[in-house]
Subunit: 296 residues, 4 copies
């Protein structure tokens, strides 16, 4: 039975930690702002004063924070987890960061003699609560097998993508598709609207076609009702398309359609939509054409 | 009980006609080359010598032929169905043709005093056999209700898209998405391959993500195994993207991503892939980058 | 000494006709609205009542009208020039029309036993006045040699591009460059402005660089002073980019950058800029980014 | 009369140094590999053992080296010029490096109490020899005035673009145009070839049109004769388009056409053309279409 330490109790990290607890593992938690810890404390779960303290207690340390700066702080900072990592312990970074940040973390952990796993997730709040995330794992297969029972509390599907960093690469692969599909959908819906087609009919047709997918279902409903509250914001998908194109540039892979998608999201950034959901990219087309893609 | 006449017994028209027969309607058939009719004759189904003769007998005439020329011939030619169309009869064109050809057919039928329905389908051979096509109907709602029992033998989902021509418009809307998604997928798979990701892992990740859709499942398997035998060929999706952009030009809808997709399929045409399945568009990227996107 | 008949006395046709007169040829004119003819009448130049009457008198008939409909009317209409064309006469179409319209005109003229030349021009009002147009000629070299002295009154550079239709093709080739360069310039100027560079400095740098060209000089000045009065309007360059991409589609030539330019001008059409000069395409970027590309 | 020290005697630096000498300034030189200095030594010009030694002697230090690493070494390395920079001296960096490297150099020089000028050039070997470069200067206007007589030996046009870094920004602005124009030209020439137009005629038409520019003249001749020997290589223009798009991303300026140009050069990189001249980008289109854009 493992001692599992969770660092980062945000929108994703909190339900992930509860799922580990419910599965019967001994859980300990750390969060930068302490108030997120109180619900855990009430259940008798250990709340630690620093990542280093948590990592001293835990066998498996899971990090789920926002961005590379936060990762570097909780891992390599003065009271960072790396202070206490040692042979026999495993650190799993589930935060989405760049390949560079992932490899830097992997190196830092390896230098302590501990094991490292790169495990970003596909899926947002709801799958996190239901323990049905898709976990994109990079690292040694042995390490993955050892921690699989813990990951299985959080994700229904666990895909071993390759060495450390490969999970991050796979996430970028998926996000390229998310961005490109979103803008394709925005263009097709605007064209259909110009034809006089009803939004509801277009969505019904999509859902009974070969391109039926959860993204079009969720975003189609959101667009039809004019709800652009963020789930996955424009600024994040723009950043990921940008990262993908930079990687593609290094690898000499031409991606003309992805490049067009990046420019579409850049236009959305320019129009001040950074904080809105990625489906708000359709507002740029609506504004340009003077057409409204809404349910009547 | 209707007399239903089916014109066009190709890959799609044959199983569609059988489904009408099996549902208990009185069926009559016509096909330009007679040998396709013999299986129907053996079952005692009426085989007619011309579209005009079939249309004289039938209440409902269904046309499922390839392209606008064939449509014009069987409808408006010397022995075309239009010769016998009259008040009380309904002509349903299920062939995929341009908006112009659809409207010309509608006019010709209306001039006879008969009713017209525009009803192209989404789905290929298998759904045609299973009676699970998606039928995109354009025309008067009354006419649609009258013939719905017949359409229901062929398609599980029937969407009333608007007036005559709207079914064709909806089909173009869906095909824009097919084309854009196909090229997005090709780019993402090539990028992922350059990262060292395995094709099987990428496909598994897609299938457990928000972009999971039948297209990616079917085409992913085809690409992974290097099978580019045509299902929906490059030349047809190229033509549809071209039609969509011409329509978008008339309506002043900018579609930068769709335009990039059209150029990608144009490159595939240039490379001599017109006759291969649309997923062969990835071969342009493979050739360019010297990378092979195949299962090991 | 030739009798030269000019049909079409618009912005371009008028100065072109005067240049023919000044060079000493016997000139006759025809224009649909008669008032454009009066200045010519005052100089004793023959004004004819119909294209047919003019063509009966002239050895060389020059047509410079707006668009294919006008061309068809003055050439093939009831009183069209074709009525009087015969062996020994030459018809030169200098209007810019599609390849199809050019070839139809060529056929009509050939059927009369007369000679045909396709000779659209590059250059606008000023070069027309100065006789310094570039003439893009398509047709038999012999015919071109015979009429060269007349063309030389209007254009400093005469390029024999190939058979009838080749002049029109060459014009499309040049207009692809015009459109692509215009949008490149708009993007670069907007980027430079976001860097804090002054418009005047950017224009000065361009003019001393390898991309110094009359287009950037003229349009740069116009943009800097916010003058979008039409010279070559957005709708015409949009139409030409569209024609070029359709031709490229037929020939299987991928043109991804040209396609992106078409979408940029499509956005300008959507924003209601059809009637403004092509340089108004920068206003779409200005509106999107909230930045103004103007001289201080 | 200034003591002018030149660091970097490559293809550009050598003729620039000679022009300073010829203009009558007292010249001193430094180059990493000493053999480039011998021609200067033979003329009695001072050859220094290190950038630090040269900078101790000179009032004005000019750096013209390849890339940011070389700049950092000759400026901030153990024997770097910064060792000897002091109040009253001016350092002019004429090497093309990123904005970041420029600003780092500016800071290092300012820390010594010396003046800094950012002065990349537009133009290559020939204008360097003729003293007809375009110099894009960033920095204080006072400093620019003080060194203008020295710059004037090297460049006919000196444009003050703004503060330190602005020269680099302006160079990126121009290179965006270079890249976009190059790919436009490649597409238009390939389309024209598919029309059956002759290369020579297309080039002649361009040169008498509104898009006539030195780039099209030089690259058109190179393409027509199949000469892709590098002048400005594919990898450099690809890098600059990439830098421009990254900057545009930060500033939220959508550049769809520039993005398409980047992908075209990315395809050229993928095809192994990194080292060839930027005009080799047309070879990707030639390969794709099977058409050859060459003079007969």
């Amino acid at each position: 039975m493992h001692n599992v330490g969770c660092i980062g109790l945000g929108t994703m990290g909190t339900p992930m930690a509860w799922n580990i607890h419910r599965a019967g593992f001994r859980l300990g938690v750390y969060n930068r702002s302490a108030e997120k810890c109180s619900a855990f404390a009430r259940e008798g779960i250990g709340v630690f004063a620093s990542p280093a303290a948590l990592a001293a207690w835990a066998d498996i340390v899971i990090i789920m924070v926002f961005g590379p700066e936060a990762l570097m702080e909780v891992l390599g900072g003065p009271d960072g987890a790396a202070r206490s990592m040692a042979a026999g312990k495993t650190l799993i970074n589930m935060s989405t960061v760049s390949r560079e940040a992932t490899l830097a973390a992997a190196e830092q952990v390896a230098a302590c003699g501990a094991s490292f796993l790169d495990a970003p997730v596909a899926g947002s709040k709801k799958p996190a609560e239901q323990g049905s995330l898709t976990i994109l794992a990079g690292g040694s297969p042995d390490v993955l097998e050892r921690v699989r029972p813990v990951l299985a509390c959080m994700g229904r599907t666990i895909i071993h993508c390759g060495d450390a960093g490969a999970g991050t690469d796979m996430k970028l692969f998926i996000n390229v598709l998310l961005g490109a599909l979103m803008q394709s959908f925005a263009e097709a819906l605007t064209l259909g609207t110009s034809f006089g087609l009803r939004v509801g009919d277009m969505l019904a047709t999509v859902q009974s076609s070969a391109v039926a997918c959860p993204l079009f279902s969720v975003k189609g409903t959101a667009i039809g009702s004019g709800d652009f509250e963020k789930n996955f914001p424009v600024e994040l998908i723009f950043k990921d398309l940008d990262l993908a194109l930079q990687a593609a540039g290094r690898e000499h892979v031409p991606m003309p359609l992805t490049a067009a998608a990046r420019e579409a999201f850049c236009a959305a950034m320019a129009r001040g939509l950074a904080d809105q959901d990625m489906c708000a990219v359709i507002r740029v087309l609506e504004e340009m054409t003077g057409r409204s893609v809404r349910d009547e």
